[in-house]
């Protein structure tokens, strides 16, 4: 899967969970840039993304995520396995 595709799909998941219709994510977006993206919604996003992409992240992978770009790469790597 192309990184850009993953980004688009993640964007939809974020919009849905954070309830932000106009949210536009870039690979550089971090939790600091989006007020609604707190530790609670982060967990919901992970669970929703896992379901959507049919992958399962490890505790350490979840912890190491710094920005949306990391997340896209991780999804790409995991879904290729």
């Amino acid at each position: 899967m192309e990184l850009n595709d993953i980004l688009q799909q993640l964007n939809e998941i974020f919009k849905d969970i954070l309830d932000l219709d106009t949210l536009v994510l870039t690979p550089e977006t971090t939790a600091r840039d989006v007020e609604e993206w707190d530790s609670l919604s982060h967990i919901q996003i992970i669970v929703a993304a896992e379901k959507h992409f049919k992958i399962r992240l490890t505790a350490q992978e979840i912890q190491a995520l710094e920005n949306v770009g990391d997340m896209c790469k991780l999804v790409q790597k995991k879904s290729a396995q």
């Binding site: 530790s39 609670l40 967990i43 919901q44 669970v47 505790a59 979840i62 912890q63």
Partner: protein
């Protein structure tokens, strides 16, 4: 008048934010607005044992305590080996200390959680054979918690163990979020845990199911009695007949617990009744069914008819029917009624219904078992009423007698239950526990009356309760409740007459009543004006000197 918010405090030994979020959602259809106080996590003992803590300042209506087996296991391992067999005893001693401290919050209800069963793999199956194992001590704690709840009316159990059992540990517990976020309940599980807590809160606040309405064909037996005939319907140990036997046994157990059973079927009445009379594998008997309706009218009309006999809210009814068309029609026309969306395969009906947790309750009473009989006689009364053109003649023919008493040891449980369950004929909807009622009964400040009603058809039991607060020469009616089973019998007139007789004897000059509207008690909005009270500010006044006896046909026993 704005109703005070229902205050919920939540204490957990792990992250509880998701539970709070889900609770807010699932408590939306509670009739009261809620407010939730969430302490920082891992503060259970501090908040409860320190009676100056935020918890006590907040003074909640209900306290939810969520404890996890993961934390319990850590605690267990910290115990010296030679003390581990006493672990449950120590935990229970601590719980007892906490329960004792909590008694200083008036009227508090406590929802305590039990522990999910986890295997630490140290003893294997042998853990069942040694009191030094974690699972042995955990199960002992769970049992002891039940034991506490069975003797403490303010204590309710959130059965997390059963929930994990149902969904499986893989779904209940997510190690990753336990490591990263200290969550001991998986993200997707929180809604189910919240739902379980919601069920308990609904029951505590008087919102629960009282009646189960059952279809017949393909619901209580397999096949269509009108087409297949009594020999060919599926009911019994063979094949799919087994599930229907079990559904009937389940319904019967509900009836024994006080749930009213009714039948609503599109059928020829004679044919529909045949299995009840003749089929050897029928578990449900005639005497189990309070109202039986089988005809070709729409189920919506028939359910309305059943409701008119039972006189309970649609929202306290459950309708079970295998036919999606009937289910939808009922749902669309009577939105308050609960209609479970049965799975397609009848083999799954029973487990599905059992897992819906439709019949949560907050109290049991001796009276529950007699209820079916009382409704059956009510159906007979309705038949008789049709033969009288004059209401008075009908009432007179009933030969009604009422026993009037102050609250005593025998009546306290039923009175408390009336204050808990009555929504419609309830002027101020103040809910009291048995303990509250006992105290009121003993206090000199209050005067109490309970009323029974008996007639030619049978005994309705205790059907009305009054609490008067004596304010010198003015008597304030704190509580006026009546069971809707005895509406339109002149009972209100009789009750007022009894109160007035007592008032005159003790020299009280005035009765003051109050009507506090809720979503459910419009029935009594004109109660005081129709009894001759006059409005004064937000209250209703009747001077003892102005009282004239109002017509009724009830004799005091």
């Amino acid at each position: 008048m704005a109703q005070p918010k229902y205050k919920i405090a939540l204490l957990g030994d792990s992250a509880t934010q998701f539970i709070v979020k889900s609770l807010n959602l699932s408590l939306k259809d509670l009739t009261m607005d809620i407010d939730i106080f969430e302490a920082d996590y891992n503060q259970i003992e501090r908040q409860i044992l320190d009676t100056t803590s935020e918890l006590y300042q907040y003074a909640p209506d209900v306290l939810i305590v969520l404890q996890s087996s993961q934390k319990l296991l850590q605690k267990f391992y910290k115990q010296p080996l030679e003390l581990r067999h006493l672990f449950a005893d120590q935990e229970m001693a601590q719980m007892d200390r906490m329960l004792l401290a909590l008694t200083s919050i008036p009227k508090l209800k406590i929802i305590w959680s039990n522990y999910t069963e986890i295997n630490d793999g140290v003893f294997g199956n042998y853990g069942n054979k040694t009191n030094k194992s974690f699972i042995y001590q955990l199960r002992k704690i769970n049992f002891e918690i039940m034991h506490r709840a069975s003797t403490n009316q303010a204590l309710f159990i959130n059965d997390l163990s059963l929930l994990q059992n149902r969904f499986g540990m893989a779904q209940y517990f997510d190690e990753r979020f336990y490591i990263n976020a200290n969550m001991t309940i998986g993200v997707e599980m929180t809604q189910h845990v919240a739902r379980n807590i919601r069920d308990i809160i609904f029951a505590i606040t008087g919102k629960f199911k009282k009646c189960l309405i059952l279809d017949l064909d393909n619901t209580l037996w397999g096949g269509v009695i009108g087409d297949d005939g009594i020999e060919n319907i599926q009911l019994g140990e063979l094949g799919i007949g087994k599930v229907f036997v079990e559904i009937q046994a389940w319904a019967k157990a509900l009836k024994d617990r006080g749930i009213i059973l009714a039948v609503c079927s599109k059928n020829n009445e004679e044919i529909a009744k045949e299995p009840f009379d003749k089929h050897p594998d029928m578990v449900l008997q005639w005497s189990d069914i309070a109202v039986f309706v089988a005809n070709w009218e729409s189920k919506v009309d028939n359910i309305r008819h059943i409701q008119s006999i039972l006189n309970i809210g649609f929202d306290s009814m459950v309708f079970v029917d295998d036919n999606p068309f009937e289910r939808n029609q009922v749902r669309e026309n009577i939105p308050e009624i609960t209609v479970p969306e049965l799975p397609e395969d009848p083999a799954e009906y029973l487990s599905f219904l059992q897992n819906c947790n439709l019949f949560e309750t907050a109290a049991l009473s001796e009276n529950d078992q007699k209820r079916t009989e009382q409704y059956q006689t009510e159906a007979k009364r309705k038949e008789l009423q049709k033969t009288f053109t004059n209401e008075d003649d009908f009432l007179q023919s009933l030969n009604m007698v009422s026993e009037v008493k102050s609250f005593d040891a025998f009546t306290i449980p039923r009175v408390a239950q009336l204050t808990q369950r009555s929504n419609q004929f309830n002027l101020r909807t103040v809910r009291y526990s048995e303990e509250d009622i006992r105290k009121i009964g003993e206090s000199d400040r209050y005067l109490t009356f309970s009323f029974t009603l008996e007639d030619i058809y049978g005994d309705n039991g205790l059907i009305s309760a009054i609490i008067i607060e004596k304010r010198a020469e003015v008597w304030f009616i704190d509580t006026w409740i009546m069971s809707c089973r005895v509406l339109k019998r002149g009972m209100e007139n009789f009750v007022l007459q009894i109160i007035m007789e007592a008032a005159k004897t003790s020299g009280a000059k005035q009765l003051v009543g109050e009507y506090l509207p809720t979503a459910k008690n419009q029935l009594v909005q004109d109660h005081y004006s129709s009894l001759g009270f006059s409005p004064q500010d937000a209250f209703w006044i009747l001077n003892t000197d102005d009282f004239v006896v109002r017509k009724n046909f009830i004799e005091r026993k």
